[in-house]
Each structure stands twice: as C-alpha cells, then as structure tokens.
C-alpha cells in the first residue's frame, strides 16, 4: 500500500518535472522567435528587480553583519581577526548572496506569479487570452522568465555588496578589527571566480523561480483553494529546488574552477 502510494507520488513528481521542462522549451522557442513584448518585459524587470530591492538588501546586510560577528568570535580565539571579512566576502559571493536573494525573491515574486496567473486561470482570463489568439506562454511566461533571469544576478550583486559592507561595518566599528588588513585580506581571498559562480547561480535560480511560479499558476486547480495551494507550492518547490541545485552547482563549478 505504502509502496504503491510512494510510486504514484514519484510518478506524479516526474511528470510534473517533465511538464516544467516542456514549458521551459516552449518559452525558449517563443523567446527566440521574438514573440514577447518589450513593454511587458520591462514591467516585470521593475516588479521582480526594483520592487524586491528593499527585502533583499535588508536580508543581505544583516546576513553579512551576523556572519562577520560569528566568524570573529571563532577566529579571535586563534588570533585570525583580520581574516573575518575574507570569510564574509567568499561566502557572500559564492553561496549566501545568490541563495538568500533567490529564497527571498521566491517568497515574494514566485508566490505572486503563481497567485496572479492562478487567479487568471480560475477567472477564465487565460482562456480569454487564448481566445484572443494569444499564447499564454508568449504573454505571461516569457516576460517573467527573462525578467527573473536579468533581475536575480543584479539583485545578487547588490546583496553581496551590502553584505560585505555590513560585515565591514560590524568588524571595524563594533569588533575593533584593524580595517586595512581586514580589507586587504578580503580582497586577497575573495576571487573573481567566486563572484562569477555566484552570478551564474543567480541566473539559474531566476529561471527556477519564474518557471515554477508560472507553471504552478497555469496548472492550479480551480477555486480559491487551488490558487492558495499553487502559491504555497510555488514557494516551497522553488526554495527546495534552489537549495538542492545549490549543492550540485557548488560541487560542479568548484571542480571546474579547480581544474582551470
């Protein structure tokens, strides 16, 4: 009984993964043929990028600050105080910057995408789009997908910068670490490759958030409960996917950088 239910769930999950892949392919084809509107794309960049700034900046600043404090407490025991900001720099660039940005955007934007598109589906607006000879993928998915791919790396850069500045502020003003060595060590140990890895991750996570949010909205069950469930699932699935993908991306890109 249990194995039957488990196998059904695995089959359903794989089928869903297949549907999301097909949606991605359809969106890519639509993008290449230039069917999306620039006006919609700019609005989505504004919605995903500009309007998410306050949330991600607060997250980035306080993460950088707490990371600096915690690192200092450990490093101080072995007289490595001035390496504090280097840890913050590397962590923010390659791991915390992209992951935290993506998780915050998944909560804010992924949920909004699923709710908006889900409501459109429930109120026949998606059918109305199709009846007006407009493919919902061109009109709804492509602008959101491209905007998320563009906005996530930009937001991540902001988070990395504010995180490092927050860490610097705490280290210098609250923990009395010598600023010159602190900064020099950060520059010495934080490599360009760390930033590149972070930006590649952010680009990928942007796609994950938009695809899952749009897919959940377009396939939500009819009724208010269906929209609510789609919204929750969009956030949960996107967050889990980001965290799991982050492990594999770190592993693969770390190996690649090591080989160069």
């Amino acid at each position: 009984m249990f194995s039957l239910s488990a196998s059904k769930r695995v089959t359903a999950a794989l089928a869903e993964l297949g549907q999301i892949t097909l949606l991605a392919r359809e969106a890519a084809a639509s993008l290449l043929k230039g069917r999306a509107s620039w006006r919609d794309l700019l609005y989505q960049i504004y919605f995903i990028g500009v309007q998410s700034q306050s949330v991600v900046l607060v997250t980035g600043a306080f993460t950088g600050m707490v990371l600096a404090a915690q690192t200092y407490f450990q490093f101080h025991k072995v007289k490595m105080d001035t390496a504090t900001l280097a840890v913050v720099g590397v962590s923010m660039c390659s791991e915390l910057g992209p992951v935290l940005t993506a998780l915050m955007v998944a909560g804010r934007v992924g949920a909004a995408m699923a709710a908006e598109i889900g409501t459109m589906r429930v109120t026949e607006q998606i059918d109305a789009l199709r009846a007006l000879a407009t493919d919902p993928v061109d009109y709804l998915v492509v602008p959101r997908l491209v905007a998320a791919h563009v906005a996530l790396p930009l937001l991540t850069v902001e988070v990395i910068v504010i995180g490092i500045l927050g860490g610097y502020f705490v280290s210098v003003n609250l923990l009395d670490i010598e600023p010159t060595y602190l900064w020099a060590n950060m520059l010495k140990y934080t490599h360009q490759s760390d930033l590149v890895i972070g930006l590649i991750k952010a680009f990928i996570y942007g796609g994950v958030i938009a695809l899952i949010g749009c897919y959940k909205g377009m396939t939500c069950r009819l009724g208010a409960e269906g929209v609510g469930q789609a919204t929750t699932e969009a956030v949960v699935y996107a967050s889990i996917t980001i965290l799991i993908a982050n492990f594999f991306l770190t592993l693969v890109m770390g190996k690649l950088v090591g080989m160069l």
Binding site: T123, R130, A131, A133, D135
Partner: protein, 248 residues
Amino acid sequence: MIEVRDLTKSFGAQLVLDSVGFKIENGESVAIIGRSGSGKSVLLKHLIGLLQPDTGEVLIDGENIVPMNERQLLHVRRKFGMLFQSAALFDSMTVAKNVAFGLRRHEHLTEAEIGRRVAGTLEMVDLPGTEDKQPAELSGGMRKRVGLARAIIYEPQIVLYDEPTTGLDPIVSDSIDQLILRVRDRLKVTTVVVTHDMRTARRIGQRVLMLHDKKIYASGTADEIFASQDPVVRQFIDGIADPKENLP
C-alpha cells in the same frame, strides 16, 4: 462554416458529450440550450479549440482543428471572438486596454487609430466614454458589454457567447440580447450562443440545438423547438420559464 462530427468528451470517468454532431452555416445564428451542467459551455469551448475532444472532429471552414497544436490554433482563433460567462476581463487593465488587446497583439496600428477603433467599438456596445475605467468599477452588464467589445473589435467571422445573460436582471438581459442581434446584423457574423435563458434562445437563435443526456437531443428553428410536444423539450422549456410570464 462550423461542423462538429462525432465529438466525445469526458473528464476523468465522467462522460460529458457523446458523439455530438451538427453544422452551422456562415452567417447563421444558433442557440445551444440545455440544463446547467449538460456540457453546453464544454461544447462551445471545443469550437474554438480551448478544449480537446477525446474523439471526433471540429471543422472550421473545412479545416479540422482537433489535431492542431496551440500555435496552429492561434491562427484559427483569429476568426473567432468569444464572450465568456464571467466576461473574463483582464482585471489589471483599463477598459480601453482590454478592448484594444487583440488589436495591439495582432495589428500594427498607431495609438490614434487604436484609440479611434476602441471608441467606436465602445460606442457600438453602448458604453461610450468608459475607456479609463477599471473592470472592478463596472456592473455585470457593463462587464459583458466590454467583453463583447473586446471580442468584436478585430471584426471576427464567428462570435461565440457563453451564457451572455446569466446573472443579469431581465432588463439588462434584454439589452444584451439586442446588442447580440445588432452585432450579428452589422458585422454579418456567425453567432453561436450557449444559454439556458429561453428568451435569449428564442430571440437570437434562428436555429436552436438542445443538448440533453450528452447528445444533441433536438434541433430545429426556434418556433419548432418552442412548439415541440416532446416531453423532454417541453419539460426543459416549461421548467425554466415562469408560467405567468408570456414569452414573446
């Protein structure tokens, strides 16, 4: 011309339409009647490819649209305008943007030309000067009118109406009926109306198809159907109409 052949559709284990078939000639206006849940709206959505049948064919001007993918269907749908039961206005857009949607997507017109066409179409549905209103500010009847304006602005060949008068008071329903007739006569469109409002069916349907028990149960001119002595048809017609009201 619209032709449906042996169309069968089920949702899960529930069979909704069973070998349904009929033809609608160009310029004809047809009312499809039937009880709530009899599959009228499902049938209508098959005509424009919004639903795919399990088996059967839907031919639009001789072209079977069933095997078409979504992208191919978009071209066929340009022949159609559709008014949805809930009007399905895009609630993030003003009335003008809703009405202009099809024009902006498919025709390369200047803003001035789009504005002129929108104003003209809103005038036709008796809603002049409402361009800047939001859908949330509109009453049920006004929403239907805007939905109709959006459906007809690019002058389609076929207009589908899904329960156009459901949820409206009799006076507004009457004005919507008149509007449907006006659109039919001015634009010379093929009209397909799904309704369980007998007055609408009688006024608009040159021909009436009755859907019952998953099939087209009865078909004929409005007069023939309304004069029918078949017990199922009679029960449906008499069951909905108020006995005190003299139907025209």
